[in-house]
Every structure is written in structure tokens, then in C-alpha cells.
């Protein structure tokens, strides 16, 4: 159809009606679209998403158990330490799905004792499996290159050979978390995905010097569950460790003082930084485990304010003798 305006003739009524209807429809549609998507307030500052939360992984009736084993062989000392507090069967039941939170922070070989020892990881995985665990997950959010950390420390290989699944975290494994009553851990990304379906959690940490907090042991080990720009929390190191102690209630912690890092921690890097303290601690109370671990480093509670803070907040007891720890000497 030719346009009547172009060929000079005037518009007839019919054409005028059609054009007017099209124009009206255009105006109405654009008006509706603008009305539908109008934004009177501008964007809101931060969107709040539903927050992740950790359940308690403690086994009722096993509170306040602790054992301290003297011995140089990690596997044997671990078995003795667990037997002394009732055996792994007391904590891991058939069908349990266990997460081992190891310390794999640095890409250093196991001999430097800056990370959880592969022998210990391997033995724990085997014990969990023997107790009936259907799945064992080994994870940490390291500081150095993550793949190198899990490989060089020997943890990945030890865990996989023992039948565990190694989870090296990715960005989307972290979910925002707010600790009830927490000031620092508020809307903060934590390593949540590997915890899906998990029924028991065991923390595995070496005894290490740490200049800022006094020492890095089982409580500081939970730092590896934090994502984001977690380094800002070093400004209040004792507070963040206190909140971490409240954030996660493990089934059990294993504190490895076979070789304690006395200085240059938490990285170490030299055999001369280590002292053969030949001690293995198993405890259901991480605060008590750390309080004892401090003695291996020759430090007092006043050197590690976070322990007292965690104890006052109800995360455990700083006076480990109250737990009547079972002491076993494997050296004879």
C-alpha cells in the first residue's frame, strides 16, 4: 500500500483512525512499561540473602573428654589418644558423614610441620571409615596456592589413598554467615558447601607459634573456614578466634604436638624452628586442647588472650585439668 501523504493525496478517515490507534497504543504501552519498572528510591545499599548456619556436631554425652598421649609415632599416638576417650566408635556411628578440617594453609612439605601431617589425616580417615562413616571429606581454605597446598603437604594424596574425598574450595563454596551475637562474623562468607550432608566434624591442627595471636592450634584452625578478605580480622585477632570458637562446635579435635613449631610461625620453613614435643591431644573441647597446647610452646594463658575469651564466652574450659585428661606415655 502506498502512503497517501507521499503521493500527495489527503488522508481519508479510515487511514486517520488506523494511525491514531497505532499512536495511542504506542503511548499506552510505553507509559505502562515506564510505570511498571519505575524506581522511586534508587538501588538499596546491600541485598541481604538468607544466611547459612552451622549445626552442632558434638555427640551428646561425650562433652569434656580429653586425652594426652606422649609418643613420637603419630598413628600409634592417635589411636591411643582416641582409645583413651572411648574410641572412635563413640563419636562416629555407622552412616555418619565426616568432615576433617585440616590445616593445609601453606604449600610446604609435611616435614616442616606447618600443616596437618598426612599420616595423621590418613589414620583419621581410616578410623572414621572403620567406625562406619560412609563418607569422609577433607577440606581447608588455604593461604598459598590451594592446589599446591593440598599436594605439597601430602594431605591430598594421604586422604585420597585412605578413601576420603578432598575438597579444594572454589568461590561458590562460600555462603554468607552471621554468628548470633557476633560482631566480626556478620554477613561474612564461610566455607559452607563442603558441609552439606555432613553429620560429624573433626578439627586437625598442629601446634604452632603465631606472632599475632600467641599460638595457632585447634581454634585458630577454624580461620580456614572464613572466605572473603579475612585478613582484616587480624586487627582483632583474639576476638575473631573467640567468635570462631562459638561458630563451630566440632565432634572432636586432634591437636598434633609431635613436632611443635616454637618460632617463625605459622609458616616455619626450617627444621630448626621445630621441637620434638612428642605429644598427641584428642579432645571434645577445643579450648581445653589449646590451653594444654600452649604449655608445649612454653606459653602462659596470658600470652594467648583468645583462650580465656573463648572460655568466658562458653566455648569450652581453659582449665584443662578440670576435664581430668587421660595421660598415656607410649615411651615406656
Amino acid at each position: 500500500m502506498t502512503d497517501p501523504l507521499e503521493n500527495g493525496s489527503s488522508m481519508n478517515r479510515r487511514e486517520f483512525m488506523i494511525r491514531a490507534a497505532k499512536a495511542a497504543a504506542t503511548v499506552a504501552a510505553s507509559g505502562y512499561i515506564v510505570y511498571r519498572f519505575r524506581d522511586e528510591e534508587g538501588p538499596s545499599a546491600v541485598e541481604t540473602r538468607p544466611h547459612y548456619s552451622f549445626r552442632s556436631f558434638a555427640v551428646p554425652g561425650t562433652e569434656s573428654r580429653m586425652s594426652i598421649v606422649t609418643g613420637a609415632n603419630r598413628r600409634r599416638a592417635l589411636n591411643a589418644a582416641l582409645d583413651a576417650i572411648g574410641g572412635m566408635e563413640n563419636f562416629i556411628k555407622p552412616g555418619d558423614r565426616v568432615l576433617l578440617k585440616v590445616n593445609a594453609a601453606f604449600a610446604l612439605p609435611p616435614i616442616l610441620a606447618a600443616t596437618s601431617h598426612p599420616d595423621l589425616v590418613s589414620e583419621l580417615v581410616k578410623l572414621c571409615t572403620a567406625a562406619g562413616a560412609t563418607r569422609v571429606v577433607v577440606t581447608d581454605h588455604p593461604i598459598n596456592d590451594a592446589r599446591a597446598c593440598f599436594n605439597l603437604t601430602g594431605i591430598a594424596r594421604a586422604a585420597e589413598e585412605a578413601g576420603a574425598q578432598v575438597v579444594i574450595p572454589r568461590q561458590d563454596d562460600f555462603l554468607p554467615f552471621s554468628l548470633e551475637g557476633g560482631r566480626l562474623i556478620s554477613n561474612w562468607p564461610v566455607l559452607a558447601r563442603p558441609f552439606e550432608g555432613i553429620t560429624k566434624v573433626i578439627g586437625v591442627a598442629p601446634v604452632k607459634d603465631h606472632h599475632r595471636s600467641g599460638a595457632s592450634m585447634t581454634l585458630k584452625n577454624w580461620y580456614g573456614l572464613l572466605g572473603g578478605r579475612r585478613n582484616v580480622f587480624h586487627q582483632e585477632i583474639h576476638e575473631i578466634i573467640r567468635e570462631l570458637a562459638l561458630m563451630i562446635k566440632p565432634t572432636l579435635v586432634i591437636l598434633d604436638g609431635t613436632e611443635s613449631m616454637m618460632r617463625n610461625g605459622p609458616t616455619g620453613g626450617s627444621l630448626s624452628d621445630l621441637k620434638p614435643t612428642h605429644t598427641m591431644i584428642a579432645s571434645t573441647d577445643p579450648v581445653a586442647a589449646d590451653a594444654f597446647g600452649a604449655t608445649l610452646l612454653g606459653r602462659r594463658l596470658s600470652d594467648l588472650p583468645y583462650i580465656t575469651k573463648a572460655a568466658i564466652s562458653g566455648a569450652g574450659t581453659a582449665n584443662f585439668e578440670l576435664l581430668s585428661p587421660k595421660r598415656i606415655n607410649m615411651n615406656g
Binding site: 596456592d145 592446589r147 587480624h234 617463625n264 609458616t267 620453613g269
Partner: protein, 598 residues
């Protein structure tokens, strides 16, 4: 099977091989990761890279044996590399074919006309080789003690800027693979980042897009490697040509002629990429691949005018001397340019680096980045370390970059050498630079906030970062005691925000301070301060005296004797904009004149 199909299979094979080798250049122990895969094969089969490095260093690395083989094969068969192997050429050919597929015959033939501008690539080749060759002159002048000449003559390796193999490696390593892997994250745990990838990607895209206008645009007008093969190929034993000067001149042979080498008339052997399309298309069966010159005549040699040759040689010879007037190799060296561990001193480094990006691809922490102008114009796209962009610093137990470098610009060092262990104990560790604390930005130095993340993460033993403990009065931190016992101080009125001094880092002591160590605060309300029960006051403070509240700070200090410049501290520093501790190249091992310590 027709020869053209064989060529297509060969092209597809080498293109897929190229992408596969790029993919497996991933640090790890799985079969599809960097193990024995010949990830540098294409570079080592590249005669331009081999010749360039030969001119700058007078050595031919054994890997370049493949390039020598390519030269030998070219002398026998002609420029087969361009038409049968080159992955960049295959991409050009595909795009050109797609673009011209539906166009009329006459346009296709016209697109494949020989153009005098095709001589530009010989100019580019001459320029790049001249840039490298002057280095040889400079070395000779030094040996001959010709002081003046050795002061002005300077060369470096710049072939990698336009060498299609380097360009392709760079584009795949720094643009295509990071983009492709972003969704699936197979070769890395998180996305990979490359500074300046936009420009590299833009150049790659433009080079490909030009095929829409003229097929194999890059190959015909720009490619210095193609030019080199053209120079060698003019003497080839076998060549395309007409068996009979007379034919129907249907021009079918030129409808898909990739090299624009005019097989219908006066054949140009140095332009022919042996695509063999003419062989297949000829309806009169007069085109053959044989040892005789074309019956239609041959254009002798390379079409480069004497004037063009002189201009490109002269500008190539002067390029580096002019660029080096900036004195970046002397007193004006750039401290923000941090080369990977094992990198040669700057001048020999520039003699070898192809800017291929292999080190950047393999670096597990993604800190090796293509330089912009940090290393001057001649150092564009050479590797430099950026500790903000990656996932950590240079990992103590990693030497991957030197192991993949195809020309040993980053030497293949052992861990013992990197860390200064065993046989290398006396030489000490390889230092990339030194960390400097910026006291105006560091939290404990500038803002009275405890931190020392840098000290904690320093990976060497003994740590290169140590701390000085100080007690600093907090802002408005002096108060008057209203009442006190051994463990508490009552200020009598609301003076403090509850619990702000309870973090374990705050202390208090009476004034005037008489040498008594401050007491740690464990709790405070708005008016009450409680101190650590392990160390109470000897006797309660008297009402009316002043107490001051102090913050205990550990201030980081770098000990240059131990710092290796790995950058872990810089990466971890919680001041994430301009970092409060930064590595610069002072004291780097590779340039002894940049020593910091006597």
C-alpha cells in the same frame, strides 16, 4: 584422496594440536596437565623465533632443531608451513573462505590478485631481523673494543610482536583460554586474569576480521614468518606451475588462491602457501606441483624494492638505540618491573623473550602478567609480576615458569637453586626484589591498629619481616581514677564505649609512667576497666591519679638480608588498594648493579 583434503586434515590436526597443547600447559600431575607434553613445539618449529634468538644470542637451543627441520623442508617443498601447519593461517583461511563463499566468481578472483602491498611483510621481516642483528654488531664491537660503536649499537628480540606463532600463543594463553575456562574452571580453581588482555584480544580479533576484506590478509601483508618462508621458499625444489603456457585463462585457479601468487600468469613462488587449490580447480589440467619452473613464467625472487629494504633495515637498526635513550637499562630502571624467578639480567632477557605468554599461562598463582610499558616499548608483553591480581605471591616451591620458557629467558632452575639450598647454599636464594613497608599506609605504623598479616605470611625462615613491639597511647586515652582495686579501675563516670578495649590488644598504666610494664585490659564498661587477673596492680591506684590507655602494636620491619621478594606479604596485606607493603626490584639477584646491601 585429493591433495586438498589431505591439506585440510593437516590444518585441522595442527590447529587442534595447538589448542590442546595450550590447554595442557596447566600445572599439575594429571595426564592432561603439564607432564611430558611438548607445549612449546610450535615455537620450537618456528624458524623466525630460532633465527631471532640466534641473532641476539649466537646460540641455537636444541629445541629449535624443529625449526631447522622446517627450513630444510621448505627448501624442498616450498612454504608448506603456512598452508599446512600454521594454526593462525588456518584460522585466516577459514574466515576468508566463509566471507567469500557466496560472492560472485569475479570478486573471488579479484580478491586473490597479487597486490604490491604484499611486499610490506618483507619490510617487517627485515625490520625485525635488523633489530635483532644490531645486538650482534654491538657484541662484536665490544669484542673489537670499538667503544663508540658498542655505545650506540643495541638490539633485542622483537620478532614475537608479529610472529604469528608468538601472537597465537599469546592470544590463546592470555585471552581465549582464560575466557573459555571461566565457565567450567577445569584448568584453574578460579578465573584467570591478565592485565592488558583487551589490547591483545583486540589485535587478535582485528587480524582475523581483516580476512573478511581480503582472504589471508595477515599472511599476505603482515606476517614476518611467512616472509621468511617466502625468502627460503624461492629456491624450493618442488613448486606449483603451469605445464603449458597456453590455457583457456578461465581463472578458476585463482578463485581460491590463498597466497595471491598468480598461478594463472607469472607465478610467484615466494607468495605461494601450497594450498593446492589451483591444482584441483584447473579445468585444463595444466597446473602441476613439480620440480620445473612454471611454463607461464616466474616472478624472480622477493618483491622488495631496494628503497624499502634500506628503509626497513635502517629503521630496524636504529629502533633499539633510540628506545634505549630512556636509560631503562641504566640508572632509570623501573623498580616496579619484577621478573619471574630465574629470569636473566634485563638486557639478555630482552634478547630472548618472545612474549609468548607461556610463563603467564603456567603460573599457578596467576601473578606473572604481560607488561604494558613497565619495561619500555621493547618490553611490551614481557612477563612482570603483579602481586595484587593473583591468588598469592611467588610460591616458594614452584619453578614452573622457567621450565616452560621456550627460550630460557627465564632459566629452567631447580628448587635448590631458587631457594639457595644444598649446592647453592653459598650463592643464596634467588631474590626477585625486596619488600618495603609503607609506614604511611601500614595499619600498625600509621593508624595504631594491630595487624602483621605480612609477618605471619612471610614464608622464609628466619622470617624477613620481624616486628617491633610498642605501646602507644590511644586517642583521648587519659582518664582520672575515681576508685580502684588491684584488678579494676573505676573512672566514676561514663567515659568509654563498652568493651572497645577488651580485644586483648589494649593496656593501661598509671601516669606518670615509671617504668612499670602496662597491664592488659580484659574488659571494660563505660566507666570500669578490668585488667588481666594474672598480673594485678601491686597496690590499688589512688583516686585522683591519671591512667592512660595504650594499644600494643607490633610494627613490621623488613630485614633485607632475608627478603627474597616473593610478594606473599604484598598479596596478603589487608590494605588492598595501594598495598602497605610492596615489593620493588631493589636487590634482585639477576641484576647485580641493583644490589641494596653492600
Amino acid at each position: 584422496m585429493k591433495i586438498v583434503y589431505t591439506r585440510r586434515i593437516s590444518q585441522l590436526f595442527f590447529l587442534l594440536l595447538f589448542f590442546w597443547l595450550g590447554f595442557v600447559a596447566t600445572l599439575g600431575t594429571a595426564w592432561w596437565q603439564l607432564r611430558g607434553w611438548p607445549v612449546n613445539w610450535f615455537i620450537h618449529a618456528d624458524p623466525l623465533a630460532a633465527l631471532g634468538v640466534f641473532l641476539t644470542t649466537r646460540t641455537v637451543q636444541v629445541g629449535f632443531g624443529w625449526a631447522v627441520a622446517m627450513i630444510a623442508l621448505t627448501v624442498i617443498f616450498g612454504r608448506f608451513f603456512c598452508g599446512w601447519i600454521c594454526p593462525f593461517g588456518t584460522l585466516h583461511q577459514s574466515i576468508g573462505w566463509l566471507s567469500y563463499r557466496r560472492r560472485p566468481l569475479i570478486e573471488k578472483i579479484k580478491a586473490n590478485d597479487y597486490r604490491p602491498a604484499q611486499r610490506i611483510k618483507y619490510g617487517i621481516l627485515t625490520f625485525l631481523l635488523a633489530v635483532a642483528f644490531v645486538g650482534l654488531i654491538a657484541d662484536g664491537a665490544k669484542i673489537a673494543r670499538m667503544a663508540g660503536l658498542s655505545r650506540i649499537a643495541a638490539g633485542s628480540l622483537q620478532t614475537g610482536l608479529l610472529d604469528p606463532i608468538s601472537l597465537m600463543y599469546r592470544s590463546v594463553n592470555l585471552v581465549l583460554l582464560p575466557l573459555a575456562d571461566r565457565t567450567v574452571l577445569v584448568t584453574s580453581l578460579g578465573p584467570r586474569w591478565y592485565a592488558g588482555a583487551g589490547l591483545i584480544g583486540f589485535i587478535f580479533a582485528v587480524a582475523l576480521a581483516l580476512n573478511i576484506w581480503i582472504p589471508r590478509f595477515y599472511c599476505r601483508f603482515v606476517c614476518p614468518l611467512g616472509a621468511l618462508f617466502g625468502v627460503i621458499g624461492r629456491w624450493s625444489l618442488w613448486r606449483i606451475g603451469k605445464t603449458n603456457p597456453k590455457c583457456s585463462m578461465c581463472m578458476e585457479c585463482e578463485t581460491h588462491c590463498e597466497g595471491a601468487c598468480e598461478p594463472s600468469t607469472k607465478f610467484r613462488p615466494s607468495e605461494c602457501v601450497l594450498c593446492m587449490n589451483c591444482l584441483r580447480a584447473c579445468e585444463d589440467n595444466v597446473i602441476a606441483y613439480r620440480t620445473y619452473p612454471s611454463a607461464g613464467g616466474e616472478a624472480a625472487g622477493v618483491d622488495l624494492t631496494r628503497r624499502g629494504l634500506i628503509v626497513s633495515m635502517a629503521s630496524g637498526a636504529l629502533a633499539v638505540p633510540v628506545m634505549r635513550l630512556n636509560n631503562l637499562l641504566g640508572a632509570n630502571w623501573n623498580p616496579r618491573l619484577i621478573r619471574p624467578p630465574g629470569a636473566l639480567p634485563e638486557e639478555p632477557f630482552l634478547d630472548r623473550c618472545l612474549k609468548c605468554g607461556q610463563c603467564m599461562r603456567v603460573c599457578p598463582t596467576n601473578i606473572i602478567q604481560p607488561a604494558g610499558l613497565e619495561a619500555g616499548l621493547e618490553g611490551v608483553w614481557t612477563p612482570t609480576l603483579n602481586f595484587r591480581i593473583g591468588t598469592s605471591g611467588c610460591q616458594l616451591n614452584c619453578v614452573a615458569c622457567g621450565q616452560v620458557c621456550p627460550t630460557a629467558a627465564i632459566r629452567p632452575i631447580t628448587l635448590d637453586k631458587k631457594l639457595g639450598r644444598n649446592a647453592f647454599a653459598e650463592a643464596g636464594p634467588i631474590r626477585l626484589g625486596t619488600a618495603f613497608v609503607d609506614q604511611g599506609r601500614c595499619l600498625p605504623w600509621a593508624m595504631d591498629r594491630p595487624c602483621i598479616v605480612c609477618q605471619e605470611n612471610c614464608p622464609v625462615s628466619p622470617k624477613a619481616i620481624f616486628v617491633r613491639e610498642v605501646f602507644i597511647p590511644v586517642r583521648e586515652g587519659t582518664h582520672v581514677v575515681a576508685h580502684a582495686d588491684e584488678l579494676t579501675i573505676d573512672l566514676g563516670s561514663s567515659a568509654l564505649a563498652p568493651n572497645i578495649f577488651a580485644t586483648g590488644d589494649y593496656y593501661c598504666r598509671p601516669l606518670p609512667a615509671e617504668g612499670e610494664a602496662p597491664h592488659r585490659i580484659v574488659a571494660n564498661t563505660d566507666a570500669l576497666i578490668t585488667i588481666d587477673p594474672n598480673r594485678p596492680f601491686a597496690k590499688p591506684l589512688k583516686p585522683g591519679i591519671k591512667v592512660e590507655i595504650l594499644v600494643r602494636l607490633q610494627r613490621p620491619v623488613v630485614d633485607p638480608r632475608y627478603c627474597i621478594g616473593c610478594g606473599v606479604c604484598e598479596h596478603e596485606c589487608p590494605v588492598t588498594g595501594i598495598k602497605a607493603i610492596r615489593v620493588t626490584a631493589e636487590n634482585e639477584s639477576r641484576n647485580t648493579e641493583r644490589k641494596l646491601l653492600p
